[in-house]
């Protein structure tokens, strides 16, 4: 097996990559002086994958929330479940499902090889019964309810539902009480065999581990996978939002809002250069040193929690701005005006340089964390980039590119999501 080294002189770090004979892509970043190791094993299957090809090659729809349901159920084993196995090695294990992937992970300071073996094993050994599926419906039902009460979560999903008419980014990652009720053991097996194939997966390890040891465990635990990479279908959708305003009431103290600009995508994915350009552009225009941030603060329209985010994935891309405000509509009006004015004048070059330096520094800081590095390597891999591509893209970023990204923001492609406070009926004792 050929091991390729990616070296970054600036950081003084190397990432080792190998294409395992089983079909799995493996990345290892050893960190000298570290006592802990983090490993993440992920498949390119998330909540936006709402269709599966049947035997006839036709796309069939599947219930919302199945990727997440499967994530929960994979922890179950015929004899011992994954948590019970990890309890014997001391590793701290977890998993998560996002829009476009499902990831299983652990961190440990002892018994790394044994824990890696458990990780690779349990993800490859599905075991579902009708009884355990039903049990999980109760647990996930509570998880869904918990999120329904969280304003930051709701304000974002409502925004996505307003912006996107078709794209499945608009559905909840865990699905709904109704959609998960449709899930049974047979369906889970079918989806498992479709999406969990090593050609569609990646393993990233960072910390006190060496590449040889990781590959040795991979040799023991992985067999050549049948099947190929799953291709997602790109269906371009009109950049015009489904709705320009959406609101909901929850039991909170003050209004919360999120303003989103949907991008008119010609390609399914935004390049890393453009992604970074958008992040720096948002920081330049709306960061803590920007005039508008300070004006809004003075007018008591925002607080320190005001944030911006560039949010994108396969077939979707949104610039988000939001926080708490006593008057979301007035705040959104000022933010939109700021965008329009900036498009005319271009970004302030000095503010742009500062924002770029800030992002560069924050990227360097990420390399402290074995968790962040492992997730970063996974993200880069799934997006088709090599290790350290984000640092290179940041260093090469020009004002011109950031201005070009700024000009993509169009008011007619934007929507505002608001959560209003709902008063409680209190029975105090």
């Amino acid at each position: 097996m050929k091991i390729k080294e990616f070296r970054n002189e600036l950081l003084g770090d190397s990432v080792f990559y190998a294409k395992h004979k089983s079909g799995l892509d493996i990345y290892v970043m050893p960190k000298s002086g570290y006592s802990t190791t983090y490993a993440i094993f992920a498949t390119k299957y998330g909540s936006i994958d709402t269709h599966v090809k049947n035997e006839k090659g036709e796309f069939e729809s599947i219930p919302e929330g199945t990727a997440h349901f499967l994530e929960h159920k994979l922890f179950e084993g015929e004899e011992l479940d994954a948590f019970e196995q990890f309890a014997k090695t001391g590793a701290s294990a977890n998993a998560y499902t996002s829009f476009d992937r499902t990831a299983y992970l652990f961190s440990c300071s002892e018994n790394f090889e044994e824990s890696l073996g458990i990780l690779l094993d349990f993800v490859q050994k599905p075991y579902f019964t009708q009884q355990t599926v039903e049990k999980e419906q109760g647990i996930i039902g509570q998880e869904i309810r918990m999120y329904q009460d969280l304003a930051d979560w709701e304000v974002m999903f409502n925004l996505l539902r307003a912006l996107y008419k078709e794209h499945p980014v608009r559905i909840d990652i865990a699905g709904t009480q109704q959609s998960i009720a449709e899930i049974d053991a047979d369906l889970l097996y079918k989806l498992y065999h479709n999406f969990y194939n090593l050609n569609n997966m990646v393993l990233c390890v960072c910390g006190n581990a060496d590449t040889e040891a990781v590959l040795k465990i991979a040799d023991e635990k992985l067999e050549k996978a049948n099947g190929s990479k799953i291709e997602r279908k790109f269906v371009p959708e009109s950049p015009v939002p489904e709705k320009t305003y959406i609101e909901e009431s929850l039991s909170i103290a003050e209004k919360q809002f999120l303003l989103g600009y949907k991008e008119d995508l010609k390609q399914p994915e935004v390049t890393i250069e453009d992604e970074i350009a958008s992040e720096v552009m948002l920081e330049t225009l709306f960061g803590k040193t920007s005039p508008v941030y300070n004006d809004l603060l003075r007018q008591e329209l925002i607080d320190m929690g005001f944030m911006t985010e560039f949010f994108s994935g396969f077939g979707y891309s949104v610039c988000m701005l939001g926080g708490t405000s006593r008057d979301p509509e007035e705040t959104a009006r000022i933010l939109r005006e700021t965008v329009d004015r900036a498009i005319e004048t271009g970004l302030d070059p000095e503010a742009f340089e500062r924002a770029k330096r800030k992002l560069y520094g924050r990227m360097i800081m990420e390399y402290n964390s074995i968790e962040d590095v492992s997730n970063l390597l996974m993200n880069l891999h799934f997006a088709g980039y090599k290790p350290f591509a984000e640092i290179e893209a940041c260093r090469a970023l020009t004002l011109e590119r950031a201005n070009k990204r700024l000009r993509k923001l169009k008011n007619e492609y934007s929507a505002l999501s608001v959560i209003n406070p709902l008063n409680k009926e209190q029975k105090d004792v």
Partner: protein, 427 residues
């Protein structure tokens, strides 16, 4: 263990020199008794972070931080036993990652942090009233918004109910009305009091040796007549009269929190058995609560037990359907009984020990190191993770059972979901 230095009476510096991180971090943790003006202290720490003599303007300060490659300064307020801990911290990239020649990022950040503490932006000896007013608005909003996160809010409510007549029952920020009443003069007094009487731990994790941090903070404290405050915490061994409080909110999921007394008489009283017992009970995914309340009965997505060892209390919390309160409560109590009865195996003990080892020994993040030692600000001798692990490993099954037997339930808080019919939107 790196050397601990005393810079002034009640001011210690713990500096770890390592080049395994990409950053340089400093945290100054300052402890005051809960009897001081909590609101003025909480506002003070945010005012100190807002600006300083060198950078009197918020935009100027933050522009400089951006130029320093996204260096950050942070302020936090927490309760630890009956002490209010105020922390000012900074993180920046290590000088070796600067893109220009000879940039001294970490020295500048250390100076900045020191300046924030000793040289705030004063005009004629007074704090700027506009800044105080702005930080007051932001703090009041933070207090009001505690309700937004129902899990957090329910935890706070149960703490208030359990410790209703103790200092621990107070909010870390003080009461809302107290925050509103704070004046710039109060902030000045709080600042003077902080420098004079707080117990202080400065932790520094960096590729340099900490000499500069030592020098500048030593110089700062040399002008101060230090009188470190006595900080004590009341431990109540037995539960008082049982109380249950229910509040209804228009939510999808109810939140149940149970508040227990551990039976500890001080922080050293069965310290390690308590830790292991609570972990076995509800600290991790191998614990009784997760395996039974969640996995077996499917009542919830989360159910954890959390030990506040510096106060001798325990909280168990879960998110459930409101009508399942009784079912969940009786299962939680049943699982506690199982621990009391010794209904757990040697493997369970071993799993818990390994889980705790993992939690304590994973110190590959600078802020974790800063927090570990910052949390010991009031302790005379500092304990390393390895020392703690060694003590935990000596705990026996009998001790775990004995610790569980002392646990007594005193307070229940139920944030219940209003029924559909009861729901109304009137103001």
């Amino acid at each position: 263990m790196a050397a601990v230095k005393t810079l002034s009476e009640g001011v210690r510096l713990y500096a770890v020199q390592t080049d395994r991180f990409k950053t340089s971090s400093i945290a100054v943790t300052m402890a005051l008794p809960m009897s001081t003006n909590l609101s003025a202290n909480a506002l003070l720490i945010n005012v100190l972070k807002h600006s300083c003599k060198k950078y009197p303007d918020f935009v100027m300060l933050n522009s400089r931080l951006s130029e320093l490659y996204g260096a950050s300064v942070g302020a936090s307020v927490i309760k630890s036993g009956e002490a209010q801990l105020l922390t000012l911290s900074t993180v920046c990239i290590d000088d070796r990652f600067a893109l220009g020649e000879d940039e001294k990022i970490s020295a500048e950040c250390a100076d900045l942090l020191c300046g924030m503490l000793f040289e705030p932006d004063l005009k004629n000896g007074k704090f700027n009233s506009d800044i105080v007013a702005e930080e007051k608005r932001l703090l009041l909003q933070r207090i009001d918004e505690e309700i937004n996160d129902k899990r957090y809010y329910a935890g706070v409510r149960c703490e208030q109910i359990l410790c209703r007549d103790e200092a621990y029952g107070k909010s870390r920020y003080g009461e809302r009305a107290e925050v509103e009443a704070v004046t710039p003069d109060d902030i000045y007094d709080a600042w003077q009091n902080l420098l004079r009487s707080a117990r202080i731990m400065i932790t520094c994790v960096s590729s340099s040796d900490g000499k500069r941090v030592e020098k500048i903070f030593k110089k700062g404290f040399s002008k101060i007549d230090r009188e470190p405050a006595e900080i004590t915490t009341e431990y109540r061994k037995k539960a008082g009269a049982f109380r249950r409080v229910e509040e209804k909110y228009p939510v999808n999921q109810g939140k149940l929190v149970l508040g227990f007394r551990t039976g500890m008489s001080d922080i050293d009283d069965m310290h390690y058995p308590e830790i292991l017992m609570i972990d076995l009970f509800g600290g991790n995914v191998y614990s009784k609560l997760f395996l039974n309340v969640r996995e077996k009965l499917s009542l919830c997505y989360y159910c954890w037990a959390k030990l506040h060892i510096r106060k001798g209390v325990v909280f168990v919390d879960c998110g459930i359907d409101t009508e399942n309160e009784k079912k969940a409560t009786s299962e939680i109590v049943k699982q506690l009984q199982a621990i009391r009865d010794g209904d757990f195996t040697d493997e369970d003990m071993a799993a818990s020990l390994m889980g705790m080892r993992e939690r304590w020994l994973s110190m590959d993040e600078p802020m974790k190191l800063c927090l570990w030692y910052g949390a010991q600000v009031c302790d005379d001798t500092l304990v390393t993770p390895e020392e703690k692990v060694a003590k935990l490993e000596k705990v026996t099954k009998d001790e775990v059972c004995a610790a569980a037997k002392r646990l007594s339930l005193e307070a229940v808080y139920m944030l219940s979901a209003e029924t559909q019919e009861g729901e109304n939107n009137e103001d």
